[in-house]
């Protein structure tokens, strides 16, 4: 189905006019022919793993497409994200007015004059939008990268003015360059008011330097902690960054360079002699950091950790880092190496909470506005933009193991349709892919969620145990689907 921009706007206003978002959510799907219930076949474990690294969880139609064109073409299709029609998702998000507002507008709608600020409205909309994009966007690899950079350039929305500034950072920094060039990302982040405030650079003045941002720019954003800088370099870069600030009155929340609090002395960062030149001083250092070999290695290690393994192979990192340097930080070129060379070497990774939730929801064609899932993200410890320290949510398996209870609770509540405004489509899926006989249904469910059906003995064991607990056939289907989602195997991707 194709739609002109005018059709889109017309539909968007229709959507805005309707009151409850949840009640009309299926409308987008119908218009776009979304959430198709296509049959699926069992997948090899390597294909299933690959697809689950590129997406937030393999939908049935993504499985079909992957089977049709193969890994390499699938990656290319996803890298060329702007060519992917994402109309249904865009339409659903058209009701989220704050996503496109400037900082001063966002401040305005949050400011309740005599009642202080509404610190919930803007963050809630950004969080819900993030969730819906991860769930419904067809540009999955792009959304995976948005999540990656949101961790890399982490900002804690609960700090001071971040509750509205992060929305601008998300749009103008992270989403703008997620599959662009690393240089542009760092550059935009360094000029991002949200980052200035999060890492205290607005308090970094000639008379009393504050080294927080300078340190994290090197330690976490570019070189890495062992990237070869010293405490002296941190302090010198902090001096270069004096005056990088945020407007407080007119055009509140915009970036500003304040000449009067800038340290005009000479500096030396990482052996580079920096002559007094105002805002250009730190910009010069940033250019140097971006093309530094330590940066290439650090970024590629983190990407390989996200897509391939907790401890990624050194050779892969080397090759990707070389590509990073050769292409001056072209993210698509680096990803191509990481995915094509790396996926055959992939090791199991424990699903982070966001990934766990999304994979179940996507595989079961769930329709939801996402609001009921908020509390699960809190309890599992991965609410969006809520990690206080600038290192972002941990990306190694060990960090997330041990907190099984909320995962079980989610699985149980989801399958029983007990989450508000959230409905799975397991039965519709089974209608197209199974005979309706209990054993076949269980095979279809396990193939859907784990890639391949369980072996016969294991399948019969689980059916027998649930039936022995007094379940009817229909209850057995449900309980098995819930316990597959709760199972050890489903916690890994």
């Amino acid at each position: 189905m194709t739609l002109s921009r005018r059709d889109f706007l017309k539909l968007a206003s229709l959507v805005t006019a309707s009151a409850a978002l949840s009640s009309c959510a299926p409308l987008y799907r119908k218009i776009a022919g979304d959430l198709p219930t296509v049959p699926w076949t069992s997948f090899s474990s390597s294909d299933f793993l690959a697809l689950n690294r590129i997406t937030f969880g393999a939908r049935v139609e993504e499985r079909a497409r992957f089977a049709e064109i193969g890994l390499q073409a699938y990656i290319e299709e996803q890298l060329d994200f702007e060519s992917i029609n994402d109309f249904a998702c865009d339409l659903q998000l058209s009701t989220f007015k704050t996503l496109n507002m400037e900082a001063n507008e966002l401040e305005g709608i949050s400011n309740q004059l005599f009642d202080g600020y509404d610190r919930e409205k803007v963050p809630n909309e950004l969080r819900q939008a993030t969730f819906l994009r991860q769930l419904y966007s067809k540009r999955q690899l792009y959304e995976v990268m948005v999540e990656f950079w949101s961790d890399h350039f982490n900002i804690f929305m609960d700090k001071e003015k971040e509750f509205f500034l992060k929305t601008v950072d998300d749009r103008e920094v992270i989403r703008k360059y997620a599959l662009g060039n690393f240089r542009d990302l760092v550059w935009a982040s360094a000029h991002s008011p949200a980052m200035m405030i999060y890492l205290d650079n607005q308090a970094n003045e000639k008379s009393h330097p504050n080294e927080n941002y300078a340190r994290e720019l090197m330690e976490l954003h570019t070189l890495g902690v062992d990237g070869g800088y010293s405490q002296k370099d941190v302090m010198e870069l902090a001096r270069c960054l004096t005056g990088w600030n945020v407007k407080e009155h007119f055009w509140l929340g915009d970036f500003v360079f304040k000449e009067d609090i800038h340290d005009t002395g000479e500096k030396n960062v990482l052996g580079l002699s920096v002559q007094p030149s105002g805002i250009k001083e730190a910009e010069q250092v940033i250019e140097m950091l971006i093309t530094h070999p330590s940066t290439a290695k650090f970024i590629c290690t983190k990407l390989a950790r996200r897509f391939i393994a907790d401890n990624p192979p050194e050779q892969l990192i080397e090759k990707a880092a070389q590509t990073f340097l050769n292409t001056n930080g072209d993210i698509k070129s680096v990803l191509r190496v990481i995915l094509l060379d790396g996926l055959p070497l992939a090791q199991p990774k424990y699903k982070r909470p966001v990934n766990f939730l999304l994979s179940a929801l996507r595989m079961l064609n769930v329709e939801t506005d996402g609001i009921a899932l908020h509390d699960y993200l809190v309890r599992m410890g991965q609410l969006y933009f809520n990690w206080p320290t600038p290192d972002g949510y941990p990306d190694y398996s060990e960090a997330w193991q041990g907190n099984l209870m909320p995962r079980w609770q989610f699985a149980f509540a989801l399958i029983r349709d007990e989450l508000d405004d959230t409905k799975h489509n397991l039965n519709a899926l089974l209608d197209v892919s199974s005979s309706g006989i209990l054993q076949d249904d269980v095979d279809a469910i396990t193939s859907l969620l784990l890639g391949t059906p369980l072996e016969r003995f294991a399948r019969n064991e689980i059916i027998d145990s649930v039936r022995a607990a007094g379940a009817t056939e229909e209850e057995t289907r449900q309980i098995i689907a819930a316990s597959i989602i709760a199972s050890p195997a489903f916690q890994w991707r």
Binding site: P348, W408, I462, A469, S483, I484, S487
Partner: protein
């Protein structure tokens, strides 16, 4: 079943067998607490020169109101006024302070310092598991409780990680599956099946059963109230688990927000309200657990200290030397331990930071050896030879 063959397996072979010792409560102050304003060296002139705005007045400074002055401990050090709830434990010699204490790492990076400290290693090459994790793994206490070690909060702390599974617990009341009894029974049965070979799953099921018996809502401390904060709740639930005798050996609790680069406050403000939470919580816990003091040791730590001089934003930047507190019935208390390196010219290190004269591993090693019956400190803190600081009687 449903445990794919490539999943990492859990296995451990403890080197020591001993009856379990104290329950250890580890409070981590995240963000590098400004210890110079918590335990104030009011006898040191340099302190007031370095901190003209943020410094806490001497206990006898008549120009200041009483609630703005330090509470004297020993003529040289004094507690921040918001920390005075801890005075009772100090006077009964159940609270020891180790000042100028910390780790050798000088990265002044929260993440690196926290990671090294929670792993209990001197540099990154050490084992990836946590120091508490290795304590659990090297000591067989005959205790197979799923609640042997608990991280209060949404995720277990890095210090707990290792071959022995640990639990994260935000609230005791969160620990049920919901649903009607019939469906619940079916789900439980099915979970038993899919987790048949998985230790963590089996233990989670058994936690579920155990916690059903506890009632957080109606729990009251007989003596004093816990602060109505996350930290207070974590301590309260730790007390409940200890009293319910469910096998709790270690409880790890975080109190965050100490990274005070900006307007941290002197006698009131951001940092004083954190100190109040800390002191009131620990005092309530100490009082609630009065009958258990011979089976309980509580320790506080932070990844490093903050710069001795205040910065221009009325805050403090990353520094070095920190401070630990140890609370319990067998503590050599009522005393500030450790050699005080001073804040004067030539005494500060790096960009102007308090030196470290006692390694945090000395304090932990003594607690592990004397109170938790684990002598294997060379495995818990590899490549480190501890010196006992005599913080434990």
């Amino acid at each position: 079943m449903l445990t794919q063959t490539w999943l990492p397996r859990l296995s451990f072979a403890p080197v020591n067998t001993a009856p379990r010792g104290d329950t250890l409560v580890v409070v981590f102050l995240r963000g590098a607490a400004d210890v110079l304003n918590m335990v104030v060296p009011h006898g040191e002139e340099a302190y007031y020169q370095l901190r003209p705005s943020l410094g806490i007045a001497r206990p006898d400074d008549a120009r200041k109101k009483k609630e703005e002055r330090a509470v004297d401990l020993d003529g040289f050090f004094g507690l921040h006024p918001t920390m005075s709830p801890l005075l009772e434990a100090w006077q009964s010699e159940q609270l020891a302070i180790i000042h100028a204490c910390g780790a050798p790492d000088e990265s002044r990076s929260h993440f690196k310092a926290m990671e090294l400290m929670e792993r209990g290693v001197g540099d990154e090459r050490g084992p990836a598991s946590g120091w508490i994790g290795r304590h659990l793994a090297t000591l067989n206490t005959g205790n197979s409780s799923p609640l042997r070690a608990v991280g209060m909060g949404t995720r277990p702390q890095r210090s707990l990680s290792g071959s022995v599974p640990v639990s994260a617990l935000r609230s005791i009341t969160d620990f049920h599956l919901g649903g009607d009894l019939r469906a619940l029974q079916q789900m439980r049965t099915s979970l038993e099946t899919v987790y048949a070979n998985d230790i963590l799953g089996q233990e989670t099921l058994s936690i579920m059963d155990t916690l059903q018996k506890l009632d957080v809502q109606n729990y009251q401390s007989p003596i004093t109230n816990y602060p109505d904060t996350e930290f207070g709740l974590a301590l309260k639930q730790t007390a409940m688990l200890i009293k319910a005798d469910v096998g709790l050996e270690v409880s790890a609790i975080d109190l965050g927000g100490w990274d005070t680069h900006f307007a941290q406050g002197s006698s009131t403000g951001i940092m004083p309200s954190l100190m109040k939470d800390l002191a009131e919580g620990l005092a309530a816990f100490h009082a609630d657990m009065a009958d258990y003091q011979n089976q309980l040791t509580t320790v506080t730590m932070s990844e490093f200290g903050r710069r001795a001089s205040e910065n221009g934003s009325l805050g403090t930047d990353h520094g070095h030397g920190s401070m630990m507190m140890v609370l319990g019935g067998n503590v050599n208390g009522g005393k500030v331990h450790g050699r005080w390196p001073g804040l004067g010219e030539g005494q500060l290190i790096g960009p102007g930071d308090l030196a470290v004269t006692t390694d945090y591993r000395d304090v932990l090693s003594e607690i592990l050896t004397k109170r938790l019956n684990n002598p294997t400190t060379n495995e818990i803190f590899p490549d480190y030879q501890p010196t006992m600081p005599h913080v434990i009687i």
